[in-house]
């Protein structure tokens, strides 16, 4: 992969990281809040169901996590194994797309 493409991957990973910094902070606060109140599935779904703001938040969160995680895994693979080339790039793209779709599906499941 060209140096130019590597730079774009770095920018995408850090851009996603900025989104995640805010999203993970909210997520950790929500986790502690939810376990503190001992929330049931009904309560968790009730918080998100029909709420477009939470839906947008979780979809953005999932997509950012997919981009950040996929590019990050690629970096770790390149640091620790000899795996390079088109197969690694394809695996990275597939992982990012799979995670983004699975995360969006989960957010829609809780929203609906």
């Amino acid at each position: 992969m060209s140096a130019r493409a590597e730079t774009w991957l770095w920018l995408a990973q850090r851009g996603a990281a900025i989104v995640l910094a805010a999203a993970v902070t909210v997520h950790l606060a929500t986790i502690v809040y939810a376990v503190h109140l001992g929330l049931s599935a009904a309560a968790i779904i009730g918080r998100i169901a029909g709420n477009r703001a939470w839906l947008a938040f979780y979809i953005a969160f999932a997509i950012a996590a997919a981009i950040h995680g996929g590019i990050g895994l690629r970096t770790v693979v390149r640091e620790t194994t000899p795996w390079r080339g088109a197969s690694l790039e394809l695996a990275t793209v597939l992982f990012v797309v799979f995670l983004a779709l699975a995360g969006t599906r989960a957010a829609l499941a809780l929203f609906a």
Partner: protein
Amino acid sequence: MIPARTTAIDWRTRQHPAWWAALVHRISGVLLALFLPAHFWALALALQGEARLDGFLGWAHRPEIRLGETALVVLLAVHLAGGLRIMALELLDVRAGQKTAIALSAGFGLALGLLYLLEVF
């Protein structure tokens, strides 16, 4: 054949806390990325009805699952705090106090983990 470009971590730097911080950031990142598909699958159980999700959450009340969740909270908190330190270094050129920032990142992760443990047990 041209050997693959080496991007491996320099092993001579292991005496510095930043090396360990980099290692923790990579290990936590890999584990969180591999956990995400399972997390999304569990949340999507809501598609099969509230009872299905409640059944899963009931199963997840087991102590060993709670300990695993605690580990995930620690990993997420450590990865967040460590990531903020890296971005401050890369994007804002904040170089001072790296050892302190690394110690605070570790402390933040452990504090969140303990808070979660206190809440679930």
